[in-house]
């Protein structure tokens, strides 16, 4: 009897604690969704479930003549995709050569990567800003793509190298005996086997530029070049909450696809993070 009561108390307390946590998480989400349907431009005097719910703000966002939101979305997707392709290609090549070849400078190269991955790439903020201004690369997407790709290389090369190390070397050797060249071994034999880690790296290199704010804020100047992070920030900062409902709609439209993507690929992401054991 006592055991049963103890169990009952324990479960009840657990449910209460979990429900409190769930409420704290859900509340801001509901609030922002509610705000996005709010008929007014600002939020004064609104309730969490608006009385005359409207889709007006979503329409405003999609109206190309008055809002640059779709342009920002397109810019972000473009930057993320190009960054992803570039960095996955470079990382696969570098990880493979660090894993398979023993060449002069290999140890020093790996050491450099290890040290570079410790320094966040926005630490050189001033240099990036000054150099971008001087080389006229300020306010271009090219600068951002190069910066993101460069920043992703050190850590993910280690990740890829670690995975390549686990693919048995006998595979390469037998292919070499069969007469396959360097590139062919890499392309036709090793790469297909490394697909899981390449998928994780692709995911990282898509999400990192998507979530970045600081570099985009430093580099981008004109409104039609903004990424979502900078654009959304300007929507809030410019008018002191005067367009808050429009911002809310924009936030919802970003959060939904990304969270769905994230939740469906979460398993891979966690496996990659534990393998790398580094960034959060």
């Amino acid at each position: 009897m006592n055991m049963k009561r103890q169990k009952f108390i324990r479960l009840t307390l657990s449910y209460i604690a979990i429900l409190i946590a769930v409420t704290i998480i859900i509340y801001p989400v509901l609030w922002i969704v509610g705000s996005s349907f709010n008929p007014g431009n600002s939020l004064s005097g609104s309730t969490i479930i608006p009385k005359n719910a409207t889709l007006k703000h979503y329409q405003e966002l999609f109206d190309l003549s008055s809002s640059k939101y779709l342009l920002w979305y397109w810019n972000t997707l473009k930057i993320c995709t190009i960054t992803m392709i570039l960095s996955v290609t470079m990382i696969a090549l570098m990880g493979y050569s660090f894993s398979r070849y023993r060449f002069i400078g290999r140890k020093n190269g790996l050491m450099t990567f290890l040290i570079l991955q410790m320094i966040p790439n926005f630490a050189a903020l001033i240099a990036i800003y000054v150099l971008a201004v001087q080389t006229k690369l300020i306010d271009t997407h090219l600068a951002l793509i190069l910066l993101y790709t460069g920043g992703l290389l050190p850590m993910n090369t280690w990740l890829a190298k670690g995975y390549f190390d686990t693919i048995p070397k006998e595979l390469d050797e037998s292919a070499r005996i069969d007469g396959a060249g360097h590139f062919r071994i890499f392309w036709q034999i090793i790469l297909p086997l490394a697909k899981p880690i390449l998928a994780v790296i692709a995911l990282f290199s898509f999400i990192t530029p998507f979530a970045d704010f600081i570099l985009a804020k430093v580099i981008l100047r004109s409104e039609e070049k903004f990424t979502l992070a900078v654009g959304l920030y300007n929507l809030v900062a410019k008018q002191f909450g005067g367009e808050f409902t429009k911002f809310a709609a924009g936030a919802v439209l970003i959060a939904i696809p990304i969270s769905l993507l994230f939740l469906s690929l979460q398993r891979y992401l966690i496996s990659g993070l534990t393998a790398g054991g580094t960034k959060g």
């Binding site: 604690a17 922002i32 001033i126 460069g150 959060a255």
Partner: protein, 428 residues
């Protein structure tokens, strides 16, 4: 064919010394094609980079002497490029010496030298990894290493709004920036207050998010709990939503005029509105609350993974021994969790140390502090941002960056020395 007094011949020395002029050593070794390649390489290097090296190195030393001809920042950039090019040239030069010496040695030992065909093979074989590395390496040099070198040099100049090219020249001033930061009253006061808040922020925010994450993961790992999958998905949600979106939403919620926290929540409980954005203390509290919300799901997910791999027998044995739930948690669960995720925990601390997004997007580092150059919630990285983009104190910002990087790197090195990558033989 082997000479009887091979060991006495001195081809290696002669080839080495002749190679001080690139190509001659190879010529001496009768590898004509290679010799030709080295000679052409040396000549084109000198012709192509003579001016760059000359101006670059001169500029690096002087940072320009007269206006309007010289632009100090361009000269600094050219100087760094010149040093990098020079290093590359020296590498090739060293390769030339090494090659002449090696082939001379082979002749000394009477070994047949490689034919042209074999040499070609050799170049392809040894060159392949370099070929694969080169695109990534060039990018790294230009977007990562180059800016780092630039920051390091900048920290020793007086580059700011008043010493700004093309109107003015920039000069080397040695350690003056660092001395200013620690000696001049306004800088020292700001630096100490920013640094202490950075440390407090890092420590409290990270510890709170870790504690909540572990607590909820353990709570949800109870076998007789229902709806686990649903709860877990909801608890991961703050991680899934891009952080900049959530922070901006929170900035709205904490807003003093229309935010839901003051207007709905606190009003519901009959509490007076709290000045979340204008009082330094409450702004800091709000930031820690927000970061806990943002950060715990990551820990939660990691710990959940660890918990599922703890063997059930451990708990059964403990139950037989009559351990209470708290005892089981303290001596089985917690040590195993901490052991498994220790490296991740340390990166969580360094992440928050540099967590620009939450500080900047919530309140821009504000509210402002009288008599200081930083806002009251500014951490080092956001202070650097405002020094660079708002007050144009480039040199001071570079000096602060160097201090910050030193802290981050020493923590990271301390951590990496403990991880396995340093210990395993073939890893490196």
């Amino acid at each position: 064919m082997i000479d009887t007094n091979v060991t006495k011949s001195t081809h290696r020395k002669r080839a080495f010394f002749l190679s001080l002029i690139p190509g001659l050593g190879q010529l001496y070794n009768r590898q004509y094609l290679k010799a030709f390649a080295f000679i052409v390489l040396a000549f084109s290097f000198i012709i192509a980079f003579k001016d760059l090296l000359n101006i670059g190195l001169w500029g690096l030393v002087t940072l320009g002497e007269q206006l309007p001809r010289d632009h100090s920042v361009f000269l600094l950039v050219e100087g760094i490029i010149a040093v990098l090019v020079l290093l590359l040239g020296l590498c090739v030069y060293a390769l030339n010496l090494y090659d002449a010496h090696l082939n001379g040695k082979r002749r000394d030992l009477g070994i047949q030298l490689n034919s042209i065909r074999e040499q070609y093979r050799n170049v392809i074989d040894t060159g392949f990894p370099y070929l694969m590395l080169s695109p990534g390496f060039f990018l790294l040099i230009f977007v990562v290493i180059f800016p780092i070198l630039f920051v390091i040099l900048l920290a020793f100049t007086n580059y700011d709004l008043y010493h700004s090219p093309p109107a003015r020249l920039v000069d080397w001033i040695g350690f003056q920036n660092f001395i200013d930061i620690f000696k001049l009253d306004i800088w020292r006061r700001t630096f100490i207050s920013v640094l202490s808040w950075t440390v407090i922020w890092t420590f409290i925010a990270t510890t709170v998010q870790i504690t909540i994450g572990i607590f909820l993961a353990v709570l949800l790992n109870q076998k007789d709990l229902k709806f686990k999958k649903l709860f877990r998905t909801i608890l991961i949600l703050p991680w899934a939503i891009p952080a900049f979106v959530s922070i901006l939403v929170f900035a709205g919620m904490f807003n003093e005029s229309f935010g839901a926290i003051n207007n709905d929540l606190l009003a519901f409980f009959g509490i007076d509105p709290i000045p979340w954005l204008t009082s330094p203390f409450w702004a800091k509290v709000a930031l820690i609350l927000i970061q806990s919300w943002l950060g715990f799901p990551f820990i939660f997910a990691m710990v959940t993974g660890v918990l599922q791999s703890i063997p059930e027998e451990l708990y059964e044995a403990a139950t037989v021994d009559g351990a209470t739930m708290l005892q089981k948690f303290r001596s089985i669960t917690l040590p195993l969790i901490l052991y498994a995720i220790a490296p991740i925990l340390i990166t969580q601390y360094t992440f928050n140390f540099n967590n620009f997004n939450v500080i900047f997007l919530f309140n821009g580092g504000g509210p402002p502090m009288p008599g200081q150059t930083a806002g009251s919630t500014d951490i080092l990285i956001s202070w650097i941002y405002s020094l660079t983009l708002e007050s144009k104190q480039y040199a001071k910002a570079a000096a602060v960056t160097m201090i910050l990087s030193l802290i981050v790197i020493s923590v990271a090195l301390w951590q990496f020395r403990r991880t396995k990558s340093f210990k395993e033989e073939d890893m490196m």
